[in-house]
Amino acid sequence: MVGKFEGFEIPKPIPALTEDTKPYWEGCARHELLIQHCQDCGHFRFPPSGLCPKCMSTNTEWVAVSGKGQVYSWTIFHYVYHPAYAKDIPYNVAIVQLNEGPLLHTNIVECNNEDIYIGMPVEVIFEDVNDEISLPKFRPLSK
């Protein structure tokens, strides 16, 4: 029953592209992790926005980052907040800090939940949801 509603399946939420976030999601669709980089102070910022929160500059470029980082914190979901995730329980949600600085919510894949730890080195991979949307997820950094 969970995950179904009167005969049809409830899909997982997918991001809606906005004026601010379109370049990010378009990059993901090409399997490129693009982050906004301030051309004045060099700060990398996430989530996407119209100006740099460090120096207020609007001179911004989208740059492909390394896709490497570390687990900053992580959790395991045992509760169904949304029926579309019922079959995934228990699943992890982690916060990864990219080497360039920004923090991203994500899932750690290709790894058992019990093997995740703070400081774990990880690298990005992309999971295709449809033609327009791919979600950046992270796996343990291959040696």
């Binding site: 997982k12 979901f77 923090l103 991203l104």
Partner: protein, 390 residues
Amino acid sequence: MNLKETCAIVGVGFSEFGKKVPKSTMTLTLEGCKRAIEDAGLTKDDVDGLLLVLPSQEGERHGWVCRTCSHLGISSTFSAGLDIGGATPIAMVQMATMAINAGMCNTVVCCYGWQNSPMGIPLSMPPGLDFTAPYGDLAALPFKAQVARRHMHLFGTTSRQMGAVAVTFRRHACMNPQAQMYEKGPITIEDHQNSRMIVEPLRLLDNAPITDSGGAVVVTSAERARHLKHRPVYISGMGQAHSGEFMRPWRDPRYPEGTFEGGKAAEIAFGMAGVRHKDIDVAQFYDGFTILVIIELEAYGFCKPGEGGSFVEEGRLELGGELPSNTAGGLLSEGHLMGMGHIAEAVRQLRGECEERQVKDAEVAFVTGYGGSPHEYPISFSYSTLILTR
């Protein structure tokens, strides 16, 4: 200009509240206003200001403030709708104090109403969820689980220490017949440890219940307060801080990891009131989740960063302890009264109305609120504080 003790809280009141109350957000709001005005011994014609929490998770906020004024039949000369989450009730009391001092009004009702499952009202999903929801991360608790994990990693904080917060506040709720968890009775650390995991490392008993409710307080000038029904409870100190520090990769260098820019909210309030931590007789910490109390104790200077876990474990927050806190049960056990319950309980303590759970000779109370955007990007927080005196 120091506004210390220029205004007072003279009435508090709540609607019927509980897990499911079949009343609209508006009706819960109106009932809260009515009860607070009655508690003050006033009539609606004495009220000339109305501040409201915007029902931000529901698509019904448009025109919310003037519609509420009309439903109440109040002729207001100062009104606003605010939304900084659970920090809003305290922020409204602060704004009322400023507006009264500015001469824009004399008597302000500060109210919220919260219906978790409003009929016929579409839920609005903020765009900031696009960076969390697709990963299965929804609701308020999961981010606190991330915070708890990080705190455990940095400082060795344990789940049992978080449990101590839940156990203490439940004990207090068992002295409050109005509390949502009153009938459930006391809990032990073992009950906490055996409660099911919701989002690891947080368990069911780390989490406040869902509550449909409305509540309000009445603020007026100190001069007018002295001629009303109850002993006035003076607004002595107030502060706010808005930041995104916990998860921000660059930070204010004055606040290294493990400390909180939110602490500024307390520094400002203590400075205004001219009191110190040791002067606080009773505290009401915003406690949507147990870990929050541990972090607030550190942020607001009641202990050092990283020592919140051992602080709560040693019984300091209990009635009879060094810092009796959340004496009505808090969000965790009185019910999710959005922080308005915390203001109301501080008022009741300073009036000396709390019977079994009364803190003897309570003269100075510290109250906190917490909210903002803690589970959507950019993750950011609002902190608010009040120091109340009699």
